[in-house]
Each structure stands twice: as C-alpha cells, then as structure tokens.
Amino acid sequence: MSMFGQVYVKDNKYKLKGEFHHLTPNTPIRDADDNWKLLGVTNPRDMTFIHSYGGEAIFFESLSQGKLMATRCDQDGCDSKGTIYIPFRTHCPDCLGKNSVIDLTDIAKTTAKVHTFMVCERSGAFNVLEKPIKFINIEFDGVATILMSYLSLGEPEFNMEVVPIFKTTGPTFTILDLSWVPKGTSESQLPEGFTF
C-alpha cells in the first residue's frame, strides 16, 4: 500500500514523501432514457494539499500541549492597544502592528461561557466529528472576539459555563484538537485522547 503524502521542511524548503495523489479511472455517464447515449464522464481526483499555518502555527502546536493561545495588540498609540483576539490575529486589524502571543488558558478555564450554539444533524463530506455536532461559540472575560468550537459532553445552552479540553494524545494539529465540556466535568469523562 502506498504511503500517504507527508511533508517536512528543511532549509526553508518543503520536502515531500509518499503519494500526493491517487489515480482512479474516468467512467462514462450515459442517459438511461435515451438509448444510453454519452452525456459526460466522471473526473475522480484525490489530492493532498500542503498548507502552512504561518504565524498561527504556535496556536495549533499549543493545543497539543494543553494550552490555548491568543494574541493581543501591544502597540503604543494604537486605539486597539490591549485588545485580545481569539481566533488568532497575527497582526492588529487596526494599526497592523505585530500582535503579542499570550496564553489564554487560565482565562478560558475560569471565564468561558456559551454565547450561542447549534446542534448539527448533518455534515459535509470529509467531516470527522461525531454527529450530531454541538457547535458552541464561546465568550471570555476581557476578550473582544467570540470563538467557534464544539462541545464534547452535555447539551449546550446560553451562558453555560464551559472549560477547554485538548487532544494531547494523537493530536491532529487542527482546530479539532480543541473542544469544550461543561464546568465540573471529571477527567475520566473526557473523550479518548483529550485532557484538561
């Protein structure tokens, strides 16, 4: 069996190993109502993209270490100085100065609550979350933005107090490594691979 495409960086260049695409033959599309005349063909394609997180990489790396990072504008003279952003903004949207990276884990553990939520019965292709997906949008004390994520245990409701959990075992290094559970949940109840 061929190896999935894997990438590392050496000397600031991508180094590729394995298969980045898989060949599957085209097949004809025919009209069953008109003597099976040809109408078109299928075009199978299976590709692996190579995506850089750039200045946000520290956020995704930190999830696997049980930390929730955010950014803050610390530029003197900026009207938005002190504003905290999560999702990350590498640069302040006001002055465009480089933001400082800060650790928001403790604030999240003590102040996070559900701003709004949604229970999703359907998903698009390539979804890996178990359905129904319980989307939650989370507000934090002192933070200007409202983070979108998902609840792993319990039923969401407005103003519900939640705490972050992190996929520290077998991380995917995607936003799915961050999830939330109701405040008071014990470690033994957490989904496989997740820790507080």
């Binding site: 709004t116 939520f117 949604m118 229970v119 999703c120 019965e121 359907r122 698009g124 949008n137 799915l176």
Partner: protein, 478 residues
C-alpha cells in the same frame, strides 16, 4: 475595520447616470446533465437580446467590456471559467474580468459593471453570472461551500455552512424571537411563501405548495434550521446589460423595456463571525440616534451589535445605496424587493439590516403581511412585496447568478413585463415544467422602484442593487 472615518462613510457619487436596459436568465435546476455551462449562459444572453427585440449578434455590437460572476472554481472544476464563457459568447477580444465574493458574487458583478459605465470607461457592458453545482454529490457540495469559511478555524467543524448560520439563528431566535414558537412559525411562513411564489415562476427549481407544519416537520439540518428553511443548490446563469444614457436610448428604441436607472453599493464584514467586534449601530435615514439605546432592555442580550444577530455588511450596503439613490425609508420608497434568503433566519435579519423594520422587529414584516404580493391579512396589495421569484429558497441559488437573477426579477416588475415572461406557456413547455392550473400573476402593479440584496457567507460581502424608473426618481436633480 474598527472605526469608520468620514472618508470611509462618504456616499458614493457616480460620474454619470447608469441604466439597465435588459436582462435574461436560464432555467434553474439542481442538475443539467444535458447542458454545458456556456449553453446556459447563451440561453440567458439570448433572452436578454430578445427582450430588446434585437438579435444576440446585434446586442453584442454594443458591448465594450464584460464582468463575469462565478464564485466557485472548484465546484465547476474549471479555473478561468470566465475565459471559457467569454470565448463561447464570441466576445473576444474585449476586456473581461471575473468577480468572486461568495454568495454576493452576482451583486458584486453588477457593482463592477455599474462602475465601468459610471466612470466612462465603457458605454455598454455585459454583466453575467453562473454557477455549476452539479459536478459533485450534495455532501461534497456542502464540503466545497464550507471552504468559504475560514479553513483553519471554521471549516473543519463539520464542513457544513448551514451550521455556521444556525448559531446566528439560535442567538437571534433566543434574543429577538424570545424562543417563542410563534417566531419559529413566522420563519416557516417565509419558506411557505417562497416555495409558493416559485410555483408561478417557470425558471424556479423548487416550486412547492406547502404549509407551516410541513416546514416545521422537515428534517433538521442544524437546529433550529430545517431542510425547508434552507436555500437551494443550483445550476444556471443570468445576465444584464448596463449602459450610459445614449446607448440605453438606442438599445431600447424598439423595445418594451424602458431603461432603468441603477445604483449598486457594497459593504463587507469579517469572514468569521467570531471576529465581529462590538460597535454602535450605523443608522439609516429612517432611524434615530436614541432608537436603540434601550435595545438591551427590550431584548436582553440584544445590545451587542452586530454580534451574531445582524449583518453589518448589509447595513453598510444599504447606507451607501440609499444615500446614492435618495431613499429615506425603504418601505415607503420602494415597491418590490428581492432579498438574499439563504435561510429563513437570514431573511429576517436582513429586514432589519436594510431598515425595512428596526432591529428586533424583523418578524413584523412577515406577520403584518407587508412582504406578500397580496397581504393575507387584508386581501390588499402588500406594502413591499419580497422575493416574488421564490428567492434562494424557492427559485435558485446558482451562486454567481443569484444577484443578477434578483435584479432581472425586479426589472420585469418595473417594465410591467412580469406576466408576459413568467406566464408564457411556451417557456413552461420549453423548460419541461407544468404551469399550475392556479397560476397567478405576481406583477406588482405600478412598480417604479425596487432593490435586490446580494449576500455572501455569514455576511462577509453584501451588495444593494437599486433600480428606478427614470421618471420616478427620488432625487429629481439626479
């Protein structure tokens, strides 16, 4: 953008008046196994020429530049699709450009075309949009649509765009709808209305005679949104021709089409609702500075603006557009609108963003009957009928074409040609669709002014396209 400067809030001014002289569209459907995209584009262009009583070849002689709206290259699996269409329409070597702003692509394409004429660069332009959403199954289609969300922070969460809307729906329902069943039923009425109006539209993909209970019993997609609350996934094309005054007079001299004055404006907001910072509500001409001071008391939790309950981009598009066209109160000044009903909830949100109703009171537009062709409460004409085409829920959402389809529909009302086109037996037959025995005219009597709202994502881009009979302008010296 955190704060607005005076320069940023300047009302746009066109260098010269711009006119819409004709428009056209193809049939819309979930799939066209027997037609290439360019065939659909040619269908729409041929219709536009036909409404001017000239041949496509004659119409092409006037066109100087072309603006093409096609949102999703990955859906159609064709980069530079604009070039394919341009070539097949035989419009080389004219300059052309592709426009992409998600669900607002059609409206943004109108925006670009208008500016080309207003600036004097071109005297006549083609604005055409299309989408090919039948090259993948529906779940892969949902995945591709979800790629319009932030790919690192949002899309992996279910790969389902409906979900990203549903969190807004949930918040709106709980705060402004006060979690009332009656509000949920009002949302369902919108779906009933739009699927119902689609029954009288031969272009429409999803005509249905349904009830509120049918909507409420349809499968949950992302609670509280159900299948019948959601827009369609479509294939089809639409186009319009924009001109300066002299060209407009020439092109319409033997036609029933009257040149219509057109203004298009645009607004934007963050791709991720997560990033929407709290701010004061920018006021429209029919609102007062103290109107929203106690909004949080009337609707606890409703004082965070725009939060998850309003679309700042729509408000800004309305603010610029109303300023350009002289509109002070959309309900009083306009006769018909087509709104971007991607979901029943976003339809209600938009009523408030564009000032049809104040924030918090969007549901009244439906419950009063004002949004209907014929007010069900009074039997009289609705005060400001909306989405008589069936909208995105009943007619189509062939993304790049949607904002242009809406404009086409508004124009047919102002031209007083709605019946002629939508009631045409030959067209119903040509599209292999059965004209209902109770087919009813939805022509808005004496319509002189209308507007189409085109909207992207969860509010990242919104345009307002305003059409007026030039003999019924609001700014008389315009």
């Amino acid at each position: 953008m955190i704060k607005f400067s005076k320069q940023q809030l300047k009302i746009p001014k066109l260098q010269r008046p711009v006119y819409l002289v004709t428009a056209g569209q193809s049939k819309f459907d979930r799939a066209f196994p027997d037609k290439r995209t360019e065939e659909l584009c040619i269908d729409s262009f041929t219709m536009a020429a036909g409404l001017l009583d000239i041949s496509p070849a004659e119409l092409k002689k006037y066109i100087h530049t072309c603006y093409y709206g096609h949102f999703a290259d990955h859906f159609g699996d064709q980069l530079l699709g604009e070039s394919v269409i341009h070539d097949r329409l035989g419009l080389d070597p004219l300059g052309n450009v592709g426009v992409k702003t998600g669900g607002a692509t059609g409206g943004s394409t109108m925006w670009e075309g208008m500016k080309a004429v207003a600036s004097g660069y071109s005297d006549c332009v083609l604005v055409m949009g299309w989408e090919r959403m039948d090259e993948v199954p529906t779940d892969e289609g949902n995945f591709l649509i979800s790629c319009a969300a932030d790919k690192d922070w949002e899309s992996p969460l279910g790969h389902i765009y409906t979900g990203y809307y549903a969190v807004m729906a949930q918040r709106y329902w709980q705060i402004f709808g006060k979690s009332e069943d009656s509000f949920r039923r009002t949302l369902a009425e919108i779906a009933v209305k739009h699927h119902g109006y689609a029954r009288f539209n031969p272009f429409a993909q999803a005509p249905m005679k349904i009830t509120v209970d049918d909507v409420l019993n349809s499968p949950v997609v992302a609670y509280p949104l159900r299948a019948l609350d959601c827009c369609l996934m479509s294939v089809g094309a639409a186009c319009s021709i924009l001109c300066d005054e002299d060209t407009a007079d020439q092109l319409t001299k033997n036609s029933k089409n009257k040149p219509l004055r057109i203004w298009v404006s645009a607004g934007s907001h963050t791709l991720r609702p997560a990033d929407r910072l709290d701010m004061d509500i920018p006021l429209l001409p029919n609102e007062t500075p103290d109107q929203y001071k106690d909004l949080g008391e009337r609707f606890p939790g409703g004082d965070r603006y725009p939060g998850f309950t309003g679309f700042l981009a729509a408000r800004m598009a309305a603010l610029y557009g109303y300023g350009m066209a002289g509109i002070t109160d959309p309900t009083e000044d306009l006769d018909v609108v087509e709104l971007h009903d991607a979901f029943t909830i976003s339809d209600v949100q938009t009523y408030e963003d564009i000032g049809i109703r104040p924030y918090g009171y969007g549901r009244e537009y439906v419950e009063s009957g004002d949004c209907y062709h014929t007010n069900p409460n009074t039997g009289e004409p609705g005060k400001l009928p909306s989405n008589l085409s069936g909208g995105l829920i009943g007619c189509m959402h062939s993304v790049g074409a949607t904002g242009i389809m809406q404009t086409y529909e508004i124009a047919t009302h102002i031209w007083n040609r709605w019946d002629e086109i939508h009631g045409d037996d030959k067209l119903w037959k040509q599209y292999n669709r059965e004209k209902p025995s109770d087919w009813t005219s939805l022509q808005v009597k004496d319509a002189k002014r209308g507007m189409a709202i085109s909207h992207a994502g969860v509010g990242s881009h919104v345009t307002a396209t305003i059409l007026m009979d030039p003999d019924h302008l609001i700014n008389k010296d315009d």
